[in-house]
């Protein structure tokens, strides 16, 4: 199957010398949920923003390949990108209160998407908005259209964000921590909704999260990011059953599972903190926190295949 989104060797650096993304490659297939998981500062959001060409000034992006279907994203002008963004490629952000415009009604900002991309009338835009609000499980969508974002609860706002992203029937949806600001009960509802929509519409979903629970329940494929690199990529089953990279193993030990993790024993934890990586850094970025580190970890690290469709960036992986 041809991927909807194809990225090879993406690098993003900032003017202060930080190397935020250091050569990552990933594909998102049609109808697939690909989770990009990692802790804060690992570069997962920067990856999403660079796909959407939303990086601020001072950021430098380069990639061998960055394609949406057959279109080369690295060669697109701002204008072409603006046409694609919100149309066939849409994004949902973490905090719906800051990403919705507080000065416009829900209906007005939703209809605008269709007016801009499909050049339809306001009335047609509002019709589609109402239909989509119903589709994402909002009761009385007609009433919600005339409300402002501050009049909605967090869960409803996130539903509005999702509905808005679906206005032009996108083929790729990038969701950056879509439920982090929500209560657990609402989180489950929103994720169910996203999963349902994704199956129903055959969406390719790139889901960015720090929450391994979400990864386990949503992903077909997982890429684990650490300090700007993908240190392990695998199917969800393989990753949780047989994590190969010490960082992935450490992360999985850190999360208690009710009823399974013994209560009177300490949780597994990863000592130390995420390092700050500048340009020209060589070796494994995890080596200072890794209990298996050897001198080989300061050299070039090969990307190895552990099993079919399961790769890791570690010297100790079985070859």
């Amino acid at each position: 199957m041809k991927p909807v989104l194809e990225i090879a060797n993406l690098r993003v650096g900032f003017s202060d010398g930080t190397a935020a993304v250091r050569g990552i490659s990933l594909n998102v297939l049609p109808g697939e949920t690909h989770c990009l998981v990692g802790e804060s500062g690992c570069g997962k959001s920067v990856t999403a923003l660079s796909v959407m060409s939303l990086l601020g000034r001072g950021a430098k992006r380069s990639a061998e390949v960055m394609r949406f279907h057959d279109r080369d994203l690295t060669r697109m002008s701002d204008r072409e990108m603006a046409r694609l963004r919100g149309d066939k490629m849409a994004m949902i952000f973490q905090e719906p209160m800051t990403s919705l415009n507080p000065a416009y009604t829900v209906g007005s900002q939703m209809a605008e998407v269709l007016e801009r991309h499909r050049h339809v009338s306001r009335a047609q835009g509002l019709d589609r908005a109402a239909a989509l609000l119903g589709h994402v499980g909002i009761t009385a969508p007609g009433m919600r259209l005339s409300q402002y974002p501050h009049q909605l609860s967090g869960g409803l706002r996130q539903r509005v964000m999702i509905a808005m992203a679906l206005m032009c029937e996108p083929e790729l949806l990038i969701a950056d921590e879509p439920t982090t600001a929500l209560d657990v009960t609402v989180q489950a509802q929103i994720l169910r909704l996203l999963q349902g929509l994704q199956r129903q519409l055959g969406l390719a979903l790139l889901l960015i999260t720090h929450d391994l629970g979400i990864v386990a329940r949503m992903a077909q494929r997982v890429s684990v990011m650490y300090a700007g690199q993908i240190v392990e990529s695998a199917t969800a089953e393989a990753l949780f059953a047989a994590p190969a990279h010490p960082y992935t193993q450490g992360l999985l030990n850190c999360v208690p599972i009710p009823g399974k993790t013994p209560r009177d024993q300490p949780l597994g934890s990863i000592p130390g903190v995420v390092p700050r990586i500048g340009a020209g850094f060589i070796g494994c970025a995890f080596r200072d926190r890794c209990t298996h580190a050897t001198t080989a970890c300061s050299g070039d690290i090969p990307r190895r295949s552990v099993a079919q469709h399961h790769e890791t960036l570690c010297t100790m992986a079985p070859s």
Binding site: Q195, C254, G259, R263
Partner: protein, 313 residues
């Protein structure tokens, strides 16, 4: 050790010039006892009143009605210094709860200085001792909060809370702002310190998996009341209240292959300024019957657990 009797906290606020006063019933009649050395986990959605209750137990907010007693003594009659020696907080955000202009050793020493009566050298010694206990090397003592990572800042906040050797610590979402790998470090530290220093914790969190791991007993809070309160084992093994069941069902454990549950709560949202009649949970309850709309459930004790649900009778 801690005894809370029908504690109530209401906030009055006007929404507009001509509209009626809006009374937010943040904590609406909470009672519990917590033994010395226990960890009471308080869970609930945002706006359920768990942080307000935490602030009341800290003595930062006087109750509108009811009583909070520590060792039989009313919190309201203790003065600030006495209270500070007894109860200390650890807050969620170590970025905003530490003074950015003070060095770590000043931050940790401040509670001692505020007590007066201790020579400066002794204050410094106690502060450094506590920093070592929470796992911060001496070199960190002269740094400013901005030079520390989130986990290190939370360690500073813990050291500051413990430097007076309080008996009770109220932890309000102590790990929610931290990454998972750091969260585990802080939870382990809190568990070690509790054993070493014989502390009692009130542990407020929205993360049930974390609460299950640290708490000895758990209270589930909904719109200002404890709807269920039981030992951690009993609550997680056999949740009785429909809201507790929904909360537990919505925990996404890191186990692939399990579908995302349908929590069945609908999309009505609880509003503490407009508490429903009858059982306050009935508009979202998947099991509600007609009686739930009109009849207010009273807390029922059975087998050492308390449940507030008409269907439990």
């Amino acid at each position: 050790m801690i005894e809370v009797r029908e504690a109530v906290r209401h906030f009055a606020g006007r929404t507009g010039l001509f509209s009626a006063d809006r009374v937010v019933r943040a904590v609406d009649g909470v009672s519990f006892n917590l033994e010395s050395g226990g960890v009471l986990g308080i869970v609930g959605e945002s706006g359920c009143g768990k942080s307000t209750l935490g602030r009341m137990i800290l003595g930062l907010l006087p109750p509108s009605a009811g009583k909070i007693l520590v060792d039989g003594q009313d919190l309201g009659v203790l003065d600030r210094r006495e209270r500070a020696r007894l109860i200390q907080p650890v807050f969620q955000d170590p970025f905003s709860s530490l003074n950015p202009r003070q060095r770590v050793r000043e931050i940790v020493g401040l509670p001692l200085a505020a007590q007066g009566a201790l020579p400066a050298a002794k204050q410094r010694e106690l502060a450094m001792d506590m920093l070592a206990r929470v796992g911060l090397p001496d070199a960190m003592a002269d740094r400013f909060p901005a030079q520390l990572s989130g986990g290190q800042r939370q360690r500073v906040a813990i050291a500051r809370a413990l430097v007076l050797r309080p008996r009770i610590v109220v932890c309000d979402e102590p790990t929610s702002a931290l990454d998972v790998s750091v969260q585990a470090q802080i939870l382990n530290l809190l568990a070690d310190l509790r054993k070493e220093l014989g502390l009692t914790y009130i542990f407020i969190s929205h993360n049930l998996a974390v609460v299950e791991h640290v708490a000895t007993e758990v209270a589930v809070m909904y719109l200002g009341r404890f709807v269920e309160h039981a030992t951690a084992d009993a609550l997680f093994a056999d949740p009785r209240h429909p809201y507790t069941r929904a909360l537990l069902a919505s925990v996404l454990t890191a186990e692939p292959g399990i579908p995302i549950p349908d929590v069945g709560l609908g999309d009505t949202y609880p509003d503490p300024a407009n508490i429903p009649s009858g059982c306050r949970f009935h508009p979202r309850c998947p099991m509600a019957i007609d009686r739930c709309r009109s009849e207010t459930p009273i807390p029922r004790s059975r087998d050492g657990r308390v449940t507030e649900c008409l269907l439990e009778a």
